[in-house]
Symmetry: C2
Subunit: 329 residues, 2 copies
């Protein structure tokens, strides 16, 4: 069953080609060991070039042991292995510890990608992770974009990230490892993000499951339709933005006021969101009420009016709407 | 605060005009009594013609008392009052009791609307109801459409339904009633839907609130962006469907295969969903996997192939995709 879903996901989302070169992000936990073993089985058939990459966060006493454990499995299976150890706490900058860890880990993956000229990495997120992520986002506050949860494939800094276990439930992964007598490391970390994830996993999901035994499927379906809906809106907004007269500078974007005002409300808000995103690279601190303030500026406020948003300044200056990205942010 | 939000909501969504005629759905509970009293205050200024409508479900011992209670308030305030009493359990057809109650109640409102020639009704849903509804939908399984929660205005069978308390939290309603010394009935019913709603209110929301004190706002914001995103997708799909060559019968719709196949995946799925909805009036039993089956039919299966969906049959028959609504459903 695990193999079948793994193969179906690869086929459905066209995650692999024959003779692909691939980094495998392997922590040593059950999910990543399952993924590593499945790729070992698939290697011959698709003639894959596999490189296992492991980042040692130095956060727990067992961290070095786990690095050795993954290195050994790779040796046994004749897979190239590359690792880096960095004490995450030394790099902690006040953001969440989990975010710091994720950034360092990804920097390492990126450097491997450059050094080995491999533009694709497989990560071992599973079906439960998607359901949990949707719930976590919902609890913290989200919109359509966040509801997509974890996608089967994404792009980060030019690297294609694929997630072939995304449709496999955690329970099936654990059963499969047991049936095949594969060992794995048990992650006891409680990074901030993991801490919240654990609460969602151990308290929230069981409560919801008592009301809907298929709650994980429901959440994953929500994520999948949200992903399609988001893609659709994103593509249409992009087409629309391309047709609007504009002037672009390093940290500003001028959009033709009249064109913006002629759009339907929904399209206008999406085009504005996209403009802010393209200027800054993300819309992390952008909230609905910010967009509504810009909408208010467009609809009624006099020429010369300014709206201050976290990281942006938006000004009405006939015939332009001027969006400025504040570099000090 | 309650008055301010009530007035802002009315202005923002343009819920009222001067001299409007309006039915007020009043159960006698805190929300509807608050709404009734607010409309009494507004009546002079906007010269509103108000008719209070009350449906007596005959489900609890206090039901008749509550009807009298609402009738009395209307008499005191010189507001026309119309009521109907029907024992909901006598009409229960195996659907949920709450659904039966809702149908009977709405039939009564509809008959009042026709008799009095009033095309607008105000209902007293509040901010907490929206958050709870989003959670209930999510637990039971939903997509973008369901995430919209409860809208400030909708249309049902030609009647405009407005919800001027939609942005007022329950706590503010209760405090306002206390401050103004307005009495109200305490609803002790436990209809099936209310039962689930109560679990969401008493168990789920407090848990989520312990992680995010502003969880209700987050959920309501999600509902509001979902509503905008849904409107956007709906409008674009409608434009697209209008441009596709088609033949329409009483219970079938033929769509030009080539036009469908030329669309982007997201647009194609939305156009298919819309076609099914327009044919049947709703998409209640339609799931993502059903649309994916139709997508599969379009993409690869041979001419003459059929996909059976609950209530629909979809057939590929060059040059058409034929969607048939099965009347026996």
């Amino acid at each position: 069953m695990v193999e079948k879903t793994f193969n179906q996901t690869i086929a459905k989302y066209k995650l692999l080609k024959r003779k692909d070169s691939l980094l495998l992000g392997v922590s040593g936990g059950p999910d990543s060991i399952c993924m590593l073993q499945l790729f070992c089985q698939l290697r011959e058939q698709l003639r894959l070039n596999l490189v296992c990459v492991h980042f040692n966060h130095k956060l727990r006493a067992e961290a070095d042991q786990e690095e050795e454990f993954v290195r050994d499995i790779c040796k046994q299976n004749n897979i190239k292995f590359s690792s880096q150890a960095k004490k995450v706490t030394d790099f902690f900058t006040g953001d969440s510890l989990e975010q710091t860890a994720r950034n360092l880990r990804f920097d390492f993956f990126l450097s491997c990608s450059r050094r080995l000229k491999i533009k694709k990495i497989a990560l071992a997120h599973n079906h439960d992770d998607v359901a949990e992520t949707v719930l976590m986002r919902m609890v913290r506050g989200t919109a359509l974009k966040g509801l997509r949860g974890i996608l089967p494939q994404t792009k980060m800094a030019g690297i294609k990230v694929i997630r072939p276990l995304i449709d496999v439930p955690k329970s099936e992964i654990l059963a499969w490892l047991k049936d095949n007598e594969f060992e794995y490391a048990v992650d006891k970390s409680n990074l901030e993000d993991k801490f919240f994830r654990n609460k969602v996993r151990l308290k929230l999901l069981p409560l919801l499951e008592s009301w809907n035994p298929r709650i994980r499927d429901s959440l994953v379906n929500l994520a999948r339709t949200a992903a399609m809906d988001y893609e659709f809106i994103y593509a249409e907004s992009k087409k629309c933005l391309a047709q609007i007269k504009k002037q672009k500078g390093r940290n500003y974007l001028k959009l033709d006021l009249k064109s913006l005002q002629s759009l339907d409300l929904g399209m206008r808000l999406n085009v504005l969101r996209l403009s802010l995103e393209e200027l800054k690279g993300n819309t992390r601190r952008l909230e609905l009420r910010h967009l509504e303030e810009v909408e208010d500026l467009l609809a009624g406020r006099p020429d010369g009016s300014i709206v201050d948003l976290p990281g942006w300044e938006v000004k009405k200056e006939e015939p332009w709407l001027i969006i400025k990205f504040l570099l000090t942010d």
